[in-house]
């Protein structure tokens, strides 16, 4: 296959790897490449996705053990050198554990695993992943997680907001960030953030499950298109 190679990392317990593989495949000019967590070489990929699931069974804490898999050393180096890295759900948890994104994801505040369609507001279009969105645009991605409650100290939250690094916020279908619209108790309704460079995005909702109107939404396409363009 030719095309921009995008690595899809698989840990034991990753379960959205096929969704992500297909999502990358759906972008014209992209070629998804499997990366097993034990590899120490990125095989020349130009972008990386950490897919959702339960890497290492979420043992200890979600993402805590995956973060030390051999491949992560290269993923961290790649991210720090400005390469595009997208972490979805468990991938977001791994990115925070790895220190590539600030804060942490705790158990949902309402004691339940949450699995539903979720409206989000695009808060920043100054990232590769949202450059095809309009500021304030509403998108609908599924959420499916037990530990998606984003926490960080107030100073860190202020900084994220001030620097325009809150990329997605949980809202209702009218675009209001109400407590009922927040599925997990996340601080300030934060659903997704980027690092300082804007090249590393972590989000709990699943753009990879919003790739076709056949499954209810194709709002996730822009994220993957942006990823591939940034990697090209």
């Amino acid at each position: 296959m030719s095309g921009v190679p995008i690595g899809v990392v698989r840990f034991p317990g990753t379960n959205c790897d096929q969704d992500v593989f297909q999502a990358v495949l759906a972008v014209a000019g992209a070629s998804p490449v499997w990366l097993w967590h034990k590899e120490r070489d990125l095989a020349g990929v130009r972008g990386i996705v950490l897919a959702g699931g339960f890497a290492f069974g979420d043992y200890l804490r979600a993402g805590a053990i995956a973060r030390f898999s051999p491949i992560m050393e290269q993923v961290i180096r790649f991210a720090e050198s400005g390469g595009p890295v997208l972490g979805i759900c468990n991938g977001f948890q791994i990115l925070t554990e790895a220190g590539l994104l600030p804060g942490a994801l705790m158990r949902n505040d309402r004691l339940t695993f949450v699995c539903r369609e979720q409206w989000l507001r695009v808060e920043s279009v100054a990232t590769p992943y949202t450059r095809h969105s309009r500021p304030g645009q509403l998108v609908r991605y599924p959420v499916a997680h037990g530990e998606g409650n984003y926490v960080a100290d107030e100073a860190a939250l202020d900084r994220l907001e001030g620097e325009g690094r809150v990329v997605f916020r949980y809202v209702d279908e009218a675009g209001a960030a109400t407590p009922a619209a927040n599925p997990n108790g996340s601080a300030r309704g934060i659903a997704g953030i980027v690092n300082e460079g804007g090249n590393v995005l972590g989000l709990m909702p699943h753009p990879d499950r919003a790739m076709s109107l056949l499954v209810g939404s194709d709002d996730g396409r822009g994220v993957f298109r942006g990823l591939v363009e940034a990697a090209a």
């Binding site: 053990i65 925070t96 926490v151």
Partner: protein
């Protein structure tokens, strides 16, 4: 020396603990009145050997910081008890 280590990990003060909250409600449902502020933590034990207590404490401290606890949301403490040489 070889030591047995017990690591205790808890959510930091003020961090919402939904598991603790659920247990609190369950205890109340069982009729145990006056129970409050239930918190659920982790207890990890292992054996470790190395050159003396100071060095072992330093290593365990590092293990806690790097892996066993996430210091953004958790605090930890540990006991290190020397095992008699066999």
């Amino acid at each position: 020396m070889t030591a047995r280590v017990e690591v205790f990990i808890q959510l930091k003060e003020g961090m919402l603990d939904p598991q603790g909250k659920a247990l609190e409600h369950a205890l109340a449902a069982l009729g145990y009145d006056g129970v409050g502020d239930v918190r659920v933590g982790k207890w990890i034990t292992f054996e470790v050997s190395g050159d003396g207590r100071q060095e072992l404490e330093k290593r365990v401290e590092e293990m806690c910081r790097r892996l066993l606890a996430n210091t953004v949301i958790e605090r930890y403490s540990f006991d290190l008890v020397e095992e008699p040489a066999s």
